[in-house]
Structures are given as structure tokens and as C-alpha cells.
Symmetry: C2
Subunit: 407 residues, 2 copies
């Protein structure tokens, strides 16, 4: 497997475009299109929130009905959530407008929205934007990157990756783009991720590959503990690589799943590290666990703890908060057996041995915690299972962004 | 029932004292003593965190063994949590020192600690403090108030209440004090509450009265979602009121339970409203629920949502975040049936009817949300059960306090 340049337009046969439709933001792009030259099989995972945005309902139906998909239309600024029948109607209008502009069926159009909940979309601006997108779409890598920029809300940078593997002698490519960066606690999030591949793979195998991996990637990140109404990950496969069909469970499937994991984990970590107001990516690793489930529960509790996240913002080795979060996670373990380490590019330091503090240097710990990527590793010495979760520090920036988001 | 002046020293036979032992803070009191002139039956509820502070382990044992209790020693500054065998030893030392100073048995001494996790107590300062407390204790109301001040950490004000009821022709008094104000998400918190009464009541009935009420009061508040290692509520009854013994389930029991609820709810709301950095008490009421359990889950999810709490800080009627939090709570309901209201002393306004926004005034909503106590009420129209939860807004103050707590 090797990383290559680009994102969603890196695999064969995919085109992208972006435009400034003026949906809510001024002076920036706010709509993106992903288009495949031939129909794709589509897999998707969606928010588990009882309150589901209109585009989530639309996409779920497309995936469940097994429709072949050829286009994904995405807007930022307004989430089209809690918008009732009117909001669902705008999904139909979006699909119709895309079908007309792209000469495809409305059933083959998926969509994603992110932004303020409860506002109605300015549908005329949206449909005019689709017209522009249809005329601009192209296969260049830069059009993929520009699409990744158009879907941002409070994100500070675009997030994309592409990797290449060889299957059956053929080059197979997976590309993806995603956005965060608040209301992020995916439990398949206003997390959106769109992955494209030119692999030949059936719909069921594609959905399994996505569903299995989401549990270890997007579902292991948290910015603020709020699971959005719009979380969506879509994975399209158009088969243009010409490999022999990837069969679930085969060696080729494992290679494909590993490559998909690389893209998903990269995008998930990028979302976590670019959480609203974040100054650091905060990684929590659990080791020595009895089960992966236990490891995940412990890692997620620490990465979600407001007190721990604020300590990270302050570069304070306040390990008591970490042990406290593990303790209320719901998982059972022996606090008096826990070893704990802080690590970053500035070094690695042990803080706790068997549940109590070792004689570490607070200065060294503070130096380690001052880096842009910080890892906490806890070993609970009960087994050999591990898990990782990703989040960010909690800063004044988060308060600034969210105390006045709508205006 | 009537509210009277004072706190833990309001009931007959209780004394209190406070002193500046220099445990961690300088220039303020940091130790408190509650003392009963005669032995008390004792009830307690404790943190469910797997990581339990040494004083929690001590108190649990006292309650479970059914010891009569005559004194509670409390310190702020250091939590005596994650302190291993050494920390447990300091509990013994504390009990011994109190027994000597007060001429009682070490088994009749309970304790509470709050502050930094992982530091060892300076035991000589603590035992010297106990000596001072023993000499100063007295029945005055002001000594109770001073005790409530001594147990504060980042609290901005002391929290105490006393109420009086008549049972069996006798005046029965319940008094209480508590402290917050971070790592507050009680699931019996570094929440400490100490309640005293002069009622005649058996140990089992006392424990039931406490356990049943904690579920509706302390366990329904949250400042930051972090369930502490030290959460403790103790309830002492010395019987000096001379009423006929309160029997579980009787009319007298119901009156006593109602009075206890008044004290507990008052203290719980005080803790929530004085959460770290808080500028407002945030109350969430759920109405029209199928079950109390469903109502509690929904109310707690909203009160815990970082995005909602930050919107409250910004006086922004960002109701989409509230509906979103209800949606990921785990409880089932129909979003399209929800009505939602904001209320404060500035007035009451409907924001959502049947899941979508009504044409409300953003200015009026902002004015309502600018008050020191703000209530959100949601009606899900599925039944007649209700619940309330209490928290606070999430502000720059929280970040300031917690990014640099230990120093």
C-alpha cells in the first residue's frame, strides 16, 4: 500500500467540483459535487441519533434500496435537520436538479448537508449551485481538494487522503475527504466523510468493509461528546480498476479493508485534531485489556472527559483526571494495577506505576504535553487487547466558536 | 415545612468548627468538623467510580458495618484519591486523631476529602487541624456556615440550608451543607454533601430515604460530565428531636422524605448553578414522557451537552442543539412531536412546536437566556411522566480554572 496525492478524484473515473452558492457563508465555497463517470455500488453508515437530518433519511433509503449511485451533492452552512416535510422536499428537489444537470436518474443522487440545525435551505441557491457544479466537474486532483474545502464549516483545513494497492495485478485506488469539527462524537457524525474507490467489489462486501471499519475509526473520535443529526460516511465503488471482484473474507478483501482503514483512520484523526478550538490532537491508547470492547470503553471515556481535555489544553500532567475518567467509564479494572505514560514527539514519560505516581519531572511532562499531537497510554494489565481513541483539547477557542455559532 | 436559618448545626445537638490547616490553600480555611453530642445512625451514598478515594472506602465501611457515628472530618485541597495504601493509612490516622480530640471511638468518625487527585495528604497538618477543630466546635449557626465555607474548592459561595417540620407534635429539623463545583456528574460526586437531622429514625429507613432521594437530586446534576472519585453524601440522625420513631412508608416518613428532598434539591441546584466558570443555572425539564426513566435520560443528555451549554453561555436560542442532544440520549421519541420552551424570570417563550421552529423573536429569546437561572422545557407528548436535571453554562471561566488547576 502506498499513499498517493489527492482525495476523492484520485481513483479512476471520479470527477469533482465546488462552488460558492451563498447558502449561508459569504466569500467562500459552500457546495461540492462528487461524480462518477459510471454508476457505483454504494455503502453508507449514518448517525444513530433519533433526530436524523433530511439528507440522512434520503441517503439511507438509497443505500437500503441498493440503487446504483453516480453523484453526491454536499452543502455546508445549513444542516437541513429538524426541517420537517419541507426539508425532505428539498432533498427531492436537490436530486432532481442534479439528475437534470448530470443527465442521470434522481435515484442515483446522494447528498450531505452540514451546518446550523433548524434552518430551511434556500433551495433556489442550491439548485443554481448544482447547475454550476455540473458544468465545472472534472477529474483533476485539485478539484477534489477544492471539494474538500467547500464542505468545511468550522474546520480550519481540508481533510483528504488517497492510497493505492495492487489487487489481482491491477492498481486499485481509494480516496476520501471529510469534515468536522464540532458536534463530533460519531456513533454511526455533523461529521461527513466521502470515500471513493475504483475497486470492483459487490455491494454487500463494500458495506461490510465500511461498517466494520467505522467502529474502529470515526466511532472512536470525539470533539465534544455531541452526536450529530447529520453524521454520514459514504463509500462509492465504480469498478474501473478492473480487478477480479473482491469477495468478502478473501485475501484481496483483507488488503482492501486495510487500505480503507488507512484512509478512514487518517480522516478520523484529522477531524479529531481539527476539533473546534483545538490546539492538539489527543490520542488515548489502552493496552493490556481483557477485551477490545473494554479497551474501547476506557479509551473513549478519557478522550471525552472535559477535565482531561482542559488539562491537555493547559499542558498539565493532571493524571488523576485520566484515572478518574477510566473509573467512571463503566468498564471494570483494578486502579492499583494501572501504568500510565505521556508521549509526543518531545519524548515519552511514565507518570503512574501500579496506580500511584512515580517520581516524574513535571517540567518534562509539560514539555511533552505542549506538542501538537499528544498520546496517553494506559496499561491495565488484564490481557492483551488494545484500542485507541482520538479527540482534542478543550480551549477558549471552543467557547468562542460555540457561544455565538448561529450569527 | 418551613425553611429556617442555618445549615448542619440547625438541628439539635450538632456542633461544627472550621480551621485553616494549610493543607494546600494559603490564607483560607480548609478543614471542617461536624460533631454530634450523642451518637447518630448514619446513611451514605457514594461514587460509583471504579476509582474510589480512600475516604470513600472508609465511609462505606462505616455505613455498611452499621457503626454509630459522632463526627465527620472534612478537608479541601487534596482529595486523597489514587493514593494507595498510604492514603488509606491517613484515613486511620485521621480517625484516631479525631477520636482522641473528641473522646470518642475511631469507628464513629467519618471523613470527606476534596481537591487534587493523586497527591498525598500532609498528615501532620491534618492531625494538628483536628486538634484545633476539637477545641473550637460549637452549636452556633455561624460555625455551620463557616464549615460550609471551609470545604469549598473552586466553589464561589458556600451552600447550606435547613428546614423544619413537625412530626408527632415534635419539631424535627434537617440541615445540610455541600460543595461542588468541577468533576461534577454525580452517580452515586468531588461533590460532597453532609446532612444532619435530629429526627428519631432507624438506620434502614434513613438509608432508604437518602438513597431514594439522591436519584432525583444529586444524580440529576452535571457540571462537566466527569463523575468524581470522591462523591459522598452523608446523612446523620441523632434522635434528639424526641419524635416517635419514623417508620419506612408511614405518613411521618413521607413528611421527612419530602423535607429531606427540599434540602437535597436545594443543595444540588446550588452546586449546579455554581459549577466551575458558570454564569447561569441551567434547568432542563422533560414533560409528557412515557416513563420517569425516559424523562431522566432525556433531561440529563441536554444538561450535559457541551454545545447546548455553550449556547446558553452565549444567550443563543440554538434549539437544534437541544433536540440533537435528546436524539442521541438513547431514549426513543418522535422528534416531529416535540414542543420546546425557554423560560426565566424575564418570561417564557415557545421555540418549537411539533419539531419545527415557530416564529419566535430571537431578541426575546436572547433576553430570557441572559438571566442567572434559565429553564428549558420539552414536551414529547407520549405520556404524563416528568423529570428535571440541573447544570450550568460552559464558559471561558471553566477553561481558565481547569487548564491550570493543580498549580
Amino acid at each position: 500500500m502506498k499513499q498517493i496525492k489527492g482525495g476523492v478524484t484520485a481513483p479512476k473515473g471520479y470527477e469533482a467540483a465546488s462552488t460558492a452558492a451563498g447558502i449561508k457563508y459569504k466569500e467562500r465555497t459552500d457546495m461540492a459535487l462528487i461524480y462518477s463517470q459510471i454508476p457505483c455500488v454504494a455503502a453508507g453508515t449514518f448517525t444513530t441519533n433519533v433526530v436524523k437530518a433530511a439528507p440522512v433519511k434520503w441517503d439511507k433509503q438509497v443505500v437500503e434500496n441498493g440503487h446504483m449511485v453516480q453523484a453526491v451533492v454536499v452543502n455546508s452552512g445549513i444542516a437541513n435537520a429538524c426541517t420537517g416535510e419541507e426539508g425532505l422536499g428539498y432533498c427531492k428537489d436537490t436530486a432532481k436538479a442534479a439528475a437534470k444537470a448530470l443527465h442521470i436518474s434522481p435515484d442515483s443522487v446522494m447528498m450531505g448537508s452540514t451546518g446550523v440545525i433548524g434552518m430551511q435551505l434556500p433551495i433556489e441557491k442550491l439548485t443554481a449551485g448544482i447547475e454550476v457544479l455540473g458544468g465545472k466537474k472534472n477529474t483533476s486532483l485539485v478539484s477534489g481538494t477544492e471539494a474538500a474545502k467547500a464542505i468545511m464549516t468550522t474546520d480550519t483545513c481540508e481533510k483528504e487522503l488517497a492510497v493505492e494497492i495492487i489487487l489481482d495485478g491491477k492498481k486499485v485506488t481509494i480516496g476520501g475527504m471529510a469534515k468536522g469539527s464540532g458536534m463530533i462524537h460519531p456513533n454511526m457524525c455533523t461529521m461527513l466523510a466521502f470515500i471513493t474507490t475504483d475497486a470492483v467489489i459487490g455491494k454487500d462486501a463494500l458495506q461490510k468493509a465500511l461498517s466494520e471499519d467505522v467502529a474502529d475509526t470515526y466511532n472512536m473520535i470525539s470533539v465534544d461528546g455531541d452526536t450529530s443529526t447529520n453524521d454520514t460516511v459514504l463509500l462509492l465503488a465504480n469498478g474501473l480498476a478492473g480487478n477480479a471482484e473482491i469477495i468478502y473474507g478473501s485475501e484481496d478483501y483483507k488488503k482492501f479493508a486495510q487500505a480503507l482503514h488507512t484512509v478512514n483512520e487518517y480522516l478520523a484523526k484529522k477531524i479529531a485534531g481539527d476539533g473546534e478550538g483545538a490546539t492538539a490532537l489527543f490520542e488515548v491508547k489502552m493496552e493490556g485489556c481483557e477485551s477490545t470492547e473494554q479497551a474501547k470503553i476506557l479509551a473513549k471515556a478519557v478522550v471525552c472527559s472535559n477535565l482531561t481535555k482542559t488539562a491537555i489544553a493547559g499542558h498539565d500532567a493532571n493524571w488523576g483526571r485520566i484515572l478518574c475518567a477510566m473509573g467512571y467509564s463503566g468498564a471494570q479494572f483494578k486502579p492499583e494495577k494501572v501504568d500510565l505514560f505521556f508521549e509526543s514527539r518531545a519524548g515519552k514519560i511514565q507518570i503512574i506505576e501500579n496506580g500511584t505516581a512515580v517520581n516524574y519531572s513535571e517540567e518534562e511532562a509539560a514539555e511533552i504535553l505542549s506538542q501538537p499531537e499528544v498520546t496517553v497510554t494506559a496499561d491495565i494489565k488484564m490481557g492483551d487487547k488494545t484500542a485507541a481513541a482520538w479527540g482534542c483539547d478543550l480551549t477558549h477557542g471552543y467557547i468562542d466558536i460555540n457561544a455565538d455559532y448561529r450569527s
